[in-house]
Amino acid sequence: MTITQAIDPKHLLNDLEVPQIGPGYDVPGSVVRYRDAFNQTLRDELNRDPDVFIMGEDISGGFDRETKEPLDAWGGPFAATKGLVQDFGPERIRDAPISEAGFVGAAVGAALTGLRPVVDLMYFDFVTVAYDQLLSNAAKSRYMFGGQTKVPLTLFARSGGGTGHAAQHSESFYSMLAHIPGLKVAVPSDPYTVRGLLAAAIRDDDPVFLVNDKKLINMEGFAPEEPFVLPLGKGRYLRHGEDVTLIGMSYTSVVCKQAADALHEEGISAEVVDMLSLSPFDEDIILESVSKTNRVVIVDEDTPRASMASEFAAIIADKAFDYLDAPVKRVTGPHTPVPYNKGLETAFMPQPDDVVGTVKRMLGIE
């Protein structure tokens, strides 16, 4: 059976490692890798809607010199499109040259004329090459043309450190995208949520950028077998607690969960909020949690200045001010590019210990 109605993830206490029972889970499913859930969802959406097509570099993995047939030699970047060209053909799995600005622009043009393009930008960093098309055309067309059109475009790419790809292949600057009016940004944190949010993004009539942290791609977790959508703009609880709220997004939701587990060992009860979307974002779940715990730590791998961590802190300082018992703390990447050396790269990324330490200082412990 297909889950037709959108599941509200707010009511899910989904542990990141093992399958769960609970609302939205009374469905057949299994433990799968994030990358496989992603691939399956692309397949589902291609099957569901003939106007959906995918465009990106090497997504069909080369072509045979003689037969001119696509080879799917790579399964596409991070195996996202593995096996798709065989079933859907090169028109729907359109391999593109290294022209990010050009093919993102072409995708906007296709979206403006009735298709639903899905663009694989490979590494998140490359969005800067296509930045003008994203900001000036994709995000603004509906508004500047007075609402007479829409841009049902989905983009995705891999963010974050942890793989030794260094400064130009490890960015997490999704805050810059969330800053842009007209664009939506989703940051799933496990197989279950990427399945629901990627489907939501592709079915959404606005441009949506879905960010995949590299550190999630080989992680496993429960995902329903049948296609379903999670609403954009809704966060969820990964754990309930009393003493402090930990807010995570993308991979830092995993970090928050691990920190909460460690804090639990020490008798500190942390509530973990997984934002799942950055634009729109779930203001209610933040305020609900913070007004209960009265303390908050926002954890973000993105660099700190004018970041989503800043935004959530600002929202809290405005709307939950009367509930706060302690300064609003952020645990973020440093204001530096991402270094190559593994030790430095690890130090760049927020670790559970950093969160634990911040919480303890906040509570005046040790």
Partner: protein, 330 residues
Amino acid sequence: MTKQKLRWMYETMYRIRRFEETMLEQTFRGNAMGVTHPSDGQEAVPTGICAHLTERDWIGSTHRGHGHCIAKGLDTKAMMAEIMGRYTGQCKGKGGSMHIADFSKGMLGANAIVGASVPLAVGAALTAKYRGAESDSIGVAFFGDGATSQGIVHESMNLAAIWDLPVIFACENNQYAEATPAWYAVSTDDISARADSYGIPGVQVDGMDVFAVYEAAAEAVQRARAGEGPTLLELRTYRYHGHFHADDPKKYRRSDEEEEYRERDCIRRFEQVVISQQHMNEDELCGVRDMIETEMQEAVEFALNSPMPPIEELYSDVYVEYSNPVQGLR
């Protein structure tokens, strides 16, 4: 060419000419809300090309887009109203002169980022190809000589070429980008020859002669509809006015140059041809001009008498759907 087509071409060129003049007059009276970029002098280009297009074909346009809009069949009332920032404007007054669009007419919008609309036409052609037999639509990207220096124009041509897309790259070479002459900024004096870099046909055309444009476009359109891929047309033309309403081109163009082009004015040349070849007579031409005069007066009145958009419009059309408020924090 049918008499009807001839009449349409005259009507279209004259409508563009008078729209720009009227729009400028209104701009100087302070009735336009922002900057405007008139295209008078270049009328033959959009006219000769759009003469081959239907509403199912798509065009991408530029900051100097009024001519493209009119040739693609947009309503001059709604255009004038948009330039005056009125609610009845093509974009409810939210876009203005540099963002006039009409998707119902296959007009993907004027665009204020030089070069940025070129891939949109490529994307429209991608949709047409994707639709296969269902569709014989094509895309046309209008852009200037200055835009050829934007990398995205190169990318767009390469994409269209390798994907065999039904798109026409229409480079309106009016020889200036703002005050900068093409001979300074463009490293070739034959832009059409750049087509060789993409293995597609390139044709240089006298953009002051609507018949020449019509001929060249006929072939390019036929190729596109036949699935034979893109064509690059370089249309050599000239803008009579400055870069934008308040710009005085005399500061950077020699007057003999301007006169030389006015000599070859596309409208006058058209009149001479159709009269000498007795396709149309002076009365018919005069009838068209009178009709346009009335249309322009009506457009101005319509715009001036139209309401401003309500304040709520500031917050609408950002998204189809969005769960956070978009109001500013105040």
